[in-house]
């Protein structure tokens, strides 16, 4: 990689680089730089929304770390569920608003989004890295369970886009 420049939000074009080298190492470096830049851009554009959600998750973690934390028999929030929900936040498209965050009675973290009246979508993060979801879109409904690995499952992204008006 012979040249690289990053222009911030006021700089207009965002990323400029030149990649003249052709070796395998150069390709690896180029790919990793691209990932890093995408991360930087993402942080710059979604910082406030992500920070709000991350702070809410931390508050939940601190409040709900023991069983029966609410006096109603709710289980302590599961650390693996917290970790999965944090990872989900980092993968969420930048155009989506931050979710409403809560703890489920079984210790899972859940996110809710509300679209126009009568349009709701909710996900719960299990310790086994599965995500249970349900959505209501006016007269239509969806629900299911998906495995969560490196990407937000397509069915959940579709449900979110539908709820939030095709963002």
């Amino acid at each position: 990689v012979s040249g690289l420049a990053y222009a911030g939000p006021s700089g207009g074009t965002g990323i400029r680089w030149q990649a003249a080298a052709v070796s395998e190492d150069a390709a690896t470096i180029r790919r990793r730089l691209g990932e890093a830049l995408r991360h930087i851009l993402r942080t710059a554009s979604t910082g406030a929304a992500y920070a709000t959600s991350d702070r809410n998750l931390t508050e939940l973690e601190e409040e709900a770390y023991i069983d029966d934390w609410d006096g109603k028999g709710t289980r302590a929030v599961d650390v693996l569920s917290i970790a999965a929900s944090r990872r989900f936040l980092t993968l969420l498209p930048t155009s989506f608003p931050p979710p409403y965050i809560a703890a489920d009675p079984d210790g899972e973290v859940s996110f809710d989004w509300e679209g126009r009246p009568g349009w709701l979508f909710s996900v719960s993060f299990a310790a086994d890295q599965s995500i249970a979801y349900a959505g209501i879109f006016g007269p239509a409904r969806v629900r299911g369970i998906e495995w969560f690995s490196d990407e937000i499952p397509a069915a959940i992204l579709e449900g979110l886009r539908r709820t939030l008006g095709g963002r």
Partner: protein, 115 residues
């Protein structure tokens, strides 16, 4: 109202029958039977019995404490949490949120219960 508020604990959801009660009496129930030490009640969700029946749930008026109603008939957890979330979303959507301004909390300075 966040849908997690409508998820059952051990197959039951705890509610109170408030029909016909004046506002202060409803909040008194929250103060006496819902509010936990160190926490606040910011509001309540109101649903009609029909909201529960339409989800194939049952209402059991056990009156322990008075006016307490347990919502039963939830699907087994082994049938999938998505099914339970689907019901919770329905109840959330049909609920009417009534905020408590200011939130209910117990006075701690004098050790007495109060708002």
């Amino acid at each position: 109202v966040h849908s997690s508020a409508f998820l059952p604990r051990n197959g039951e959801l705890s509610t109170f029958q408030t029909q016909g009660l004046a506002e202060p009496d409803i909040w008194r129930i929250a103060l006496e039977h819902v509010l936990q030490p160190g926490r606040k009640v910011h509001g309540r969700a109101e649903n009609s019995p029909g909201d529960f029946y339409s989800c194939d749930l049952a209402l059991v008026a056990d009156n322990e404490p008075p006016r307490h109603v347990t919502v039963t008939g939830w699907p087994d957890e082994r049938e999938g949490k998505d099914l339970i979330k689907d019901i919770a979303l329905s109840l959330s959507m049909s609920a009417r949120l009534v905020l408590c301004e200011p939130p209910l909390e117990r006075a701690v300075a004098d050790g007495a219960g109060g708002v």
